[in-house]
Symmetry: C2
């Protein structure tokens, strides 16, 4: 059973950990830029990644990795944990950069998406959208490569290295399957709640919450029983996180999220929110949703009309309720988890950050 501790007793200082990971990554990428300069290679690659990391991000995966380490009895934040946590964040940079290409998103973290920024930067030498997209694919791939390098050089003990890598391999496989399902779902019905939930499970819940915790736990040599406990906490929390994301994506404040509300709707992203709305809609409301969602020329006014339908059908409040149920289930699982009380407190703080947020 976990008991509450005051913030000062927490073993993991969330803000301090975020800063530590960010500054580790910045230093790593600055060394890459220095090295590229020496070798006559394009410094633009590490510089774009450094700017991307600096532009924002909640650092949820690194925090969970650190928490998983402590859940399994690890103490402090030794080098192997910092590097593995940083590797997860750089992997996320890869995932977001490719995602924005696939989703044709123009904006990320309140700045032009990487593919847009690169097309613009090289426009005067003739770069077009395809060159920008190609450069973004390659820079994404480099982020992935360097994420692996962070793990290779993390100084993980020989006894634990393979099991840490197995967790990371599984995480990546699940994420790509989730993305592939998501892409193919975009060709299917708007009303398919089950498929949207499967996508959420693979693309977010496992990738964002479960596997980062497992990676940290594997660094501390955790066995399968602790991992299963963490999974019971992680999966409902991860679903709640994505459901919140979907709500913020269309009804959030763009100044806080760093993404315009039009992106998700223009892309026609299949979310549980939309699926529920379509299921509950009358024929007029259904015409609105089917006519506007996935429409590349959707404007602000059209987006407001969609949001109105999400409210009228009470799809939005149904999703709020799903978030609460999952959040509660996650906290209940944590009560049963064999983790130190101070770590449980940290996990509760992270859970609250993941679900109760405006960005």
């Amino acid at each position: 059973m976990a008991h509450s501790t005051s913030p000062s007793e927490r073993v993991l200082d969330l803000d301090g950990t975020r800063l530590k990971i960010t500054s580790y990554l910045r230093q790593f990428l600055e060394q890459k830029a220095q090295r590229a300069l020496t070798d006559g290679l394009p410094t633009e690659v590490p510089n774009v990644l450094r700017d991307f990391v600096d532009a924002g991000g909640k650092r949820l995966r690194p925090l969970l990795c650190a928490a998983g380490w402590q859940a399994a009895g690890g103490s402090g934040l030794p080098e192997p944990v910092v590097r593995t946590a940083a590797a997860l964040e750089l992997y996320q940079a890869f995932a977001l950069i490719h995602d924005d290409v696939i989703d044709r998103s123009a904006t990320r973290r309140s700045r032009p998406a990487v593919h847009r920024a690169l097309a613009d930067r090289h426009a005067k030498t003739g770069a077009d959208a395809h060159v920008g997209m190609s450069a973004a694919i390659l820079i994404g791939n480099m982020a992935l490569t360097w994420s692996d390098e962070l793990v290779t050089g993390a100084g993980i003990s020989a006894a634990r290295r393979v099991s840490v890598c197995e967790v990371l391999d599984a995480m990546r496989e699940e994420m790509h399957y989730g993305q592939y399902l998501d892409l193919m779902a975009s060709l299917g019905s708007l009303a398919d709640v089950d498929t949207s939930l499967t996508v959420i499970r693979y693309k977010t819940a496992k990738y964002t919450i479960e596997r980062p915790l497992h990676a940290g736990a594997a660094l501390a040599g955790a066995g399968p029983a602790l991992r299963r406990s963490l999974t019971r906490f992680a999966l409902p929390l991860g679903e709640a996180f994505q459901l919140r994301d979907d709500l913020l994506g269309v009804m959030g404040d763009p100044k806080a999220t760093g993404k315009p509300v039009l992106d998700d709707l223009r892309e026609g992203k299949r979310t549980v929110l939309l699926a529920l709305a379509v299921q509950r809609a009358d024929s007029t409301q259904r015409d609105v949703l089917e006519g506007l969602v996935g429409n590349q020329s959707l404007d602000e006014q059209g987006a407001l009309r969609v949001v109105e339908v999400l409210r009228e059908t009470q799809a939005a409040s149904a999703v709020e309720q799903m978030i609460n149920e999952r959040y509660e289930r996650s906290l209940a699982a944590l009560e049963e988890a064999p983790v130190p009380a101070a770590t449980a407190d940290v996990l509760r703080a992270i859970a609250s950050l993941a679900v109760d947020r405006e960005s």
Copy 2:
């Protein structure tokens, strides 16, 4: 000093090794498909990769990995070598699938490129070119993920695992820098021989020849001296390999190469061949090159006109000469390399395959 051995004395049977790697990969991907079926995940991902691997490929990198292993004193083809070699081939599948997206290539291994095939397969549910490209990016990323999984589960001894991973990390960093340079060069002058040579070095020589040899050598615990010897053999050979590729790309027989001659020219690929031609061209010839190379609507007749200029300016024969010089330099380095005579023989056979080929 290396001495010739007859094929029957060779420690590495090239055809047998190719078959072994191919069948290992096929089995690995079929297990992935089986697993996807069980888990309700898209079997299309492993199936597309299995077909891609089955459709062809010289298996140069796996052969070099096996040769590197034997060069450093390893014997036979134990599981860690087979899996690492298979990982290199699956990594190459990732690289080619992304490359075809970036280069807008329509054909690969005599079949529609993956992004084209997927757009066609899902056309009836509304997939367009962007969906095909997105699916190809994701399937490429999965190939990379599974390449890592092959290495994680290869059973490499703890003492050697980090140094094998360091080689693979370096290989991937170099390849991505090479591709990025290549992409940016496509916005620059057609006549820049030096940049084309730098691209060749990173994108091909290190990636295709040097690092696969180093990976095999690292599996056998090779030290830096042997690696440097292998580098002296590898880099000129890798340059010769790419120069041959560039010649075949515009002057080869599409039936043998599996790629139409128009692709490289339409893409405006900056090759040493073209750079030399532009440098040697008179103003009429230069107009032909600058008007047609990189022109997306280039037709067969235009391509023939370009090839004529490559012949007239003797750029093609200059490249043949560069290939020969590098091939000779590579073989001379091999004479000095501290590798078993039988391995030197294998490396000579691979060198000949890499340079003297029609596909």
